[in-house]
Symmetry: C2
Subunit: 471 residues, 2 copies
């Protein structure tokens, strides 16, 4: 990492840290775009230096995880996190800091226990999936019907699992961009429906994760309205292994599980917003964000305290630099992402009739705190500015498409141009949605590089003459 950071600073220096070079650049370039680029580079270089020398995101993430901790969408802890964010945004120097509230249904985890009853009694580490219904309070005990993969369940006959607890295994592949998540997540989202269709009374899945630690991974599931709702929970990888080894012996395997989650009615959540008002085009908005809520098992450091730290930290760097952006730079801490992007949809709803069409460019950080390694564009014009952002950070452009990130997706669907720094996330799904998502997992150098990237993006988007919306 250190050599990477040195090369990053060297790259940015080549573009602008020598006054002689800049002057010569200004003098010799007749192409106005190249000239603008060189001038910009000096400012970007300043931002990168401040970001890389500082602990902006690291400190903000430390504060959120230490002082608030777990903060499920709609919970009293998420409400405290909003108060924390208002205070933190004001401390940093953001303007017009406010909460945009919305109402949401609230799902609460209850008791969660499971054990192999026979042939070899053993406790298992399990957690309810978000949105799951409860078992009866005394639990359920039944024989396991095993499906090595979700595909095996989907292609099984449409009956024959009556009275059984379905166990769906299947491993998630590790990848820097988390490409294994989508396929692995099918069983989490749809497993209960597919099992219920075939008569099953409950489901356990091998956690959607890439670790081999004794932490089950939670995350939202969905029911299909016309299919019976049955409880569903995730086993840690070692416990899924244990169950598979037990099943391999060919005997009937019985499981007992008790889950008592519940929907507790409507609660308030909200998005916390702050900004640096633009000097020349204040009504044009460059938006960066992350989500403020977390799952309840960990303290939400990589998911997504880091995203709050990176986006607010980048704004802090710009304020520290003394540079005055032309466009308004808006930082949004979205509420209730984990439980269905509720803050993201609320944001679109609240802004659709006011300023959503004046959102020039948006991005978020919601993939941990690993170093940005490439840049994806989702703009309709002005892609050269996105390329400048990548160049300034010494990063390649990616061929892939982006919707800007989970919380940016809904506004992207409404026409807001987006981009994204792809973050190195090979180990992200070791921690994702587990108790192990804690602050100690954040590397200060790596998160600082993300701050540099976000500050660069915000500055260049603010200064660009380009309208990324294609007009």
């Amino acid at each position: 990492m250190r050599s990477f950071l040195i090369s990053l600073l060297a790259t940015s220096c080549l573009l602008g840290c020598s006054d002689a070079k800049i002057d010569s650049g200004e003098a010799s370039q007749s192409n106005s775009e190249a000239k603008v680029k060189t001038v910009r580079s000096r400012e970007v270089d300043k931002l990168i230096k401040i970001a890389m020398a500082g602990t902006h995101a690291y400190d903000i993430t430390e504060s959120l995880t230490t002082e608030i901790g777990p903060r499920v969408g709609g919970s009293p802890e998420e409400a405290k996190a909003r108060e924390w964010a208002v205070k933190k945004f004001k401390e940093i120097g953001l303007q017009n800091v406010r909460i945009e509230p919305f109402t949401m249904p609230y799902w609460e985890r209850g008791i969660e226990t499971a054990a192999i009853v026979s042939p070899f009694p053993q406790q298992l580490y399990i957690t309810s999936l978000g949105g799951s219904v409860a078992t009866p309070s005394e639990g359920i005990e039944a024989e396991i019907a095993f499906f090595p993969t979700f595909e095996d369940l989907k292609t099984a006959p449409e009956s024959g699992l009556e009275g059984k607890i379905v166990f769906i295994s299947g491993r998630m592949e590790k990848a820097p961009d988390g490409a294994g998540y989508g396929p692995a997540n099918q069983k989490r989202r749809l497993g209960a429906t597919e099992a219920a269709k075939r008569g099953a009374i409950a489901v356990v899945i091998r956690s959607v994760g890439t670790d081999s630690h004794r932490f089950p991974h939670t995350g939202m599931m969905r029911y299909q309205e016309d299919i019976k709702k049955i409880p569903i929970a995730a086993l840690s990888a070692p416990d899924a292994d244990q169950l598979e080894r037990t099943l391999k012996r060919g005997q009937k395997v019985s499981l007992k599980m008790t889950l008592t989650p519940k929907w507790s009615g409507d609660r308030q959540s909200g998005n916390v917003i702050g900004q640096i008002t633009g000097t020349e085009r204040p009504d044009e908005i460059v938006l960066v964000g992350g989500h403020l809520d977390s799952w309840d098992l960990g303290t939400g450091a990589v998911d997504d305290g880091a995203g709050i730290g990176i986006s607010a930290g980048a704004a802090q760097v710009i304020l520290e630099s003394g540079l005055k952006p032309k466009r308004t730079l808006r930082v949004v801490a979205f509420g209730a992402e984990e439980v269905g992007l509720l803050g993201a949809y609320a944001y679109v709803k609240a802004h659709k009739d006011t300023d959503l069409d004046r959102h020039v460019l948006a991005t978020e950080s919601d993939f941990g705190a690993g170093p940005a390694y490439e840049v994806k564009s989702g703009v309709r014009s002005g892609e050269h500015v996105i390329r400048d952002m990548a160049n300034a950070m010494g990063l390649p452009m990616s061929e892939g498409a982006t919707n800007g990130g989970p919380d940016i997706g809904p506004m992207f669907s409404e026409g807001v141009p987006v981009m994204r720094f792809q973050q190195e996330g090979t180990d992200y799904f070791d921690l994702h949605h587990t108790p192990d998502d804690t602050f100690d997992k954040i590397n200060p150098d790596e998160i600082a590089q993300n701050v540099a990237a976000f500050a660069t993006m915000m500055w260049l988007a603010s200064e660009a003459d380009t309208d990324f919306r294609g007009q």
Copy 2:
């Protein structure tokens, strides 16, 4: 690892796998010790080949962890593990399989919860240390008195902690031989006494471990008879970090904790013993072992299912080879090691007046399943045979002393000669005494190399003319 294994096989081939070479060796060597060595090498080579090609220890460890799981000394699960061991030893083909029972006090874990109450409420992952007394059933709530290290507590004034919960931090250093464990373990063993002397009402320690996962590490503690007994528990490393970060803010920090462990009176435990009776000197015993009990949090794979697998697996390899050892090879699955080496002491007591003085050489595996990387001797004569064992495995001799391992220590104190294969254990204390000590952590190639080492040791000790006891 693969290159290591290939080099091991190559080494053993050089010593004996070519018949031509062996014949030539026998013909040209006049020194009788060298001649014996060459003949032995062919047999050792056979053992190593069988061990390396097989899954002896891997399968035994799989069976124990899958079919029995956690098995605390004195528990019903440990009793089931003894039945399992009797059956497994007989299946392997060991003779004279028996349980040597002993009685022991039984400590049971109860509820264990902890939370920072103020200034920032958060649940903490905690576990009682073995032998701890309980808190009142409603828990205790008190201000934290922080000591960065155990040394800081020991050198603190002899009063001033009245009514406080002492938090002792201090990190354990990683090392291949686990050298950091002894120093780090001081706070676990003696922390309650040192805190109670100064008026404290309870203690939490940073877990004695080298990981940064959200698992607290349990393990036995001790009280000093004349000092008040106060409850003591361990926090996971991320929770200890959380508490330290909270304390750094300079405010008073209050903790609430509830622990309900108890001593439940005397229970039965036992050592399970089996053997391959020697053909020429059946009354002379070569002993190998591991401990059958585990802590209750994990399934006791690296601590010490692997040790049972390696010692029984090595005996299985010898039986499969068709070789007939001259001395008796004894395999012991010790009971109740974790709670104070109770099986080891019971073994010495049971054998002191019968055959302990005919124990020629003893060793055990109780440091996971990492590859053996060097050999330590603890014999009074015949060290060249120990060197032969090392040579056959391609391992260097260590300068360091050994008592043969925790369960071998008591018989070593009574004069039994010992040796030990040092196992690579850099990551051992990531898992040690946590829920994460599960079968998936065992590498089949690495544990097979240990089986090869143990089979080599057993064979060469059985065949040696040397009496390691110094007569």
